[in-house]
Amino acid sequence: MRQKYDLSVNVAGVRFSNPVLVASGTFGYGEEYDALIDLSKLGGVITKSITLNPREGNPAPRTVETPSGMLNAIGLANLGVENFIKEKIPFLRKLETRIIVNVAGSTIGEYVEVVKRLSRCRGIDMLEINISCPNVEQGGLAFGSNPESAFACIKQIKDHTSYPIIAKLSPNVTDIVEVACAVKEAGADAVSLINTLIGMAIDTEKRKPILGNITGGLSGPAIKPVALAMVWKVAKAVNLPVIGIGGILNTQDALEFLLAGACMIQIGTANFVDPQTSVKIVNGLNGYLKEKRIKRITDLVGRLKIN
């Protein structure tokens, strides 16, 4: 039976059954949520950031709650690309959903090396390149915080892989549109935004920063207005698929991002609040199409009325 209301989207030649992804670093390697939700219901799963070598990450504490948000300074803890391929890909490959591997590195060479090794794998649909992690000393945000280095990083990666590439952008910049233009120029197939805002919290009793890493990345509903403004600006200015991220808790929030111009969305912190969030939003979007008698979810994308 043909679906009457169509949630599917195409990004860079990849077809997703719906526009709901789970955001890197908030969903482990997928398997952690297998007991809690039906992963096949998702548009796709994005893995934790993978680096060339295993990383232990930052000292504890690594998370703290803030008003309507949280700070994290995990520090890209992950098992390294080889272990990832051996231990995690087999599970991911079996899922009836799209798999996007998020890649990070301290040097462009490292990004390229990870991408090369992933290119030999079956079961991956796309890569998301994290040039926006605020919680590591080298790399990460360094690449995402100016158009030139963002360009250089994405260009090199594109030269070494045939996977479609999503460049994940940082909000900690004066002009995110400039960075988006640079990565488009470099060949990125899509952009995702936003990664976390740099933030800090202090324990006034101990007179110490709460996080082991001193600063961390702010996520959750607190940052939704910032994310939405950036998505709207980038979608308006750059002719590239935009994936919206930041504080999405429910269908309403997801609709805001779609209207602002995002063709897909990612659920991050909300997975911690309620593991069902992403599945609820898939259902919620379906219900919305029905209620409003809109045929395709893509008919909503960017349909914000400005007078």
Binding site: G25, T26, G28, L36, R62, T63, F272, V273, P275
Partner: protein, 265 residues
């Protein structure tokens, strides 16, 4: 295995000024929980505070349909929880984490609880005394003062040995429970190899327990508390460092760890 479920509140009993015992209906958790496991609770329906709160499973009802958590009001989340009443429902993830490993039969068993540390140890004690001679089990119960001491009467009536201490000496011995514990095993000349120790309490106290366990090479399991985001092993936010520098997740690799193996601050 961890489930997400909606658990009806059966009761919420105020035990002290800030301490509550909440009983939730959940056959799944009650049937599968082991001492040391915890639940991750969404305290608010309007997402404020945003993240879930972790609580040790304190007791499981005899008919295995309900379980209890024991908690202290320390902030927004626990404040909201303290207002839950029969008829309310609570969104729970659980049971989560590893559990205490029960000791071999021949061991002398000691439980060392500071403040709210009684929460998981009570569940453990109830399992232990089903299988062990009561007089081979000693419970060290510490609190700041008489007012904050919990469960002393109940423990007394359970038949196992009980040693009480308060920081200010207002009841029982005076001093930190860890020091009382150390003196006791010295005085009674226990062979550390014959002991099985289980402990839970504030970070500072557990830090002392790791020192003692490392010095005496004691089998000592401690249950850790740390800020948790996901509670299911996905975010790597809740880590504790092992001796070898490796980080472990408290939520799924713990919350119970061998005191000799971890570095606390």
């Amino acid at each position: 295995m961890v489930h997400q479920l909606v658990a009806p509140v059966l009761s919420n009993e105020k035990l002290q000024k800030k301490v509550f015992k909440l009983t939730l209906f959940s056959p799944h958790i009650s049937k599968t929980a082991k001492p040391g496991n915890f639940v991750h609770i969404k305290v608010s329906s309007n997402n404020y505070p945003l993240l879930r709160r972790a609580f040790s499973i304190h007791r499981v009802g005899k008919n295995k349909t309900e379980f209890e958590i024991l908690f202290k009001v320390v902030g927004k989340g626990t404040e909201i929880l303290s207002r839950k009443a029969p008829g309310d429902i609570v969104d729970v993830l659980g049971p989560i984490g590893n559990s205490f490993s029960l000791p071999q039969k021949e061991k002398e068993v000691m439980l060392v609880a500071g403040g709210m540390g009684i929460a998981p140890l009570w569940f453990l004690l109830n399992q232990l005394i089903k299988r062990f001679d009561k007089d081979k089990v000693t419970f060290f119960l510490g609190a700041k003062s008489k007012e904050e001491l919990l469960y002393a009467k109940k423990l007394n009536s359970m038949g196992s040995n009980l040693i009480v201490a308060t920081d200010d000496g207002s009841v029982g011995r005076k001093g930190l429970i860890t020091e009382i514990f150390k003196k006791e095993i010295k005085k009674k000349k226990y062979d550390p190899r014959k002991l099985a120790v289980y402990s839970c309490g504030p970070q500072m106290m557990l830090k002392r327990m790791t020192d003692i366990a490392k010095r005496l090479d004691l089998f000592c399991q401690i249950s850790l508390e740390i800020h948790m985001a996901c509670g299911v092993g996905a975010c790597w936010g809740c880590v504790v460092q092992k001796k070898d520098g490796i980080y472990k997740r408290v939520c799924v690799d713990g919350p119970v760890f061998d005191a000799r193996e971890v570095n606390l601050e």
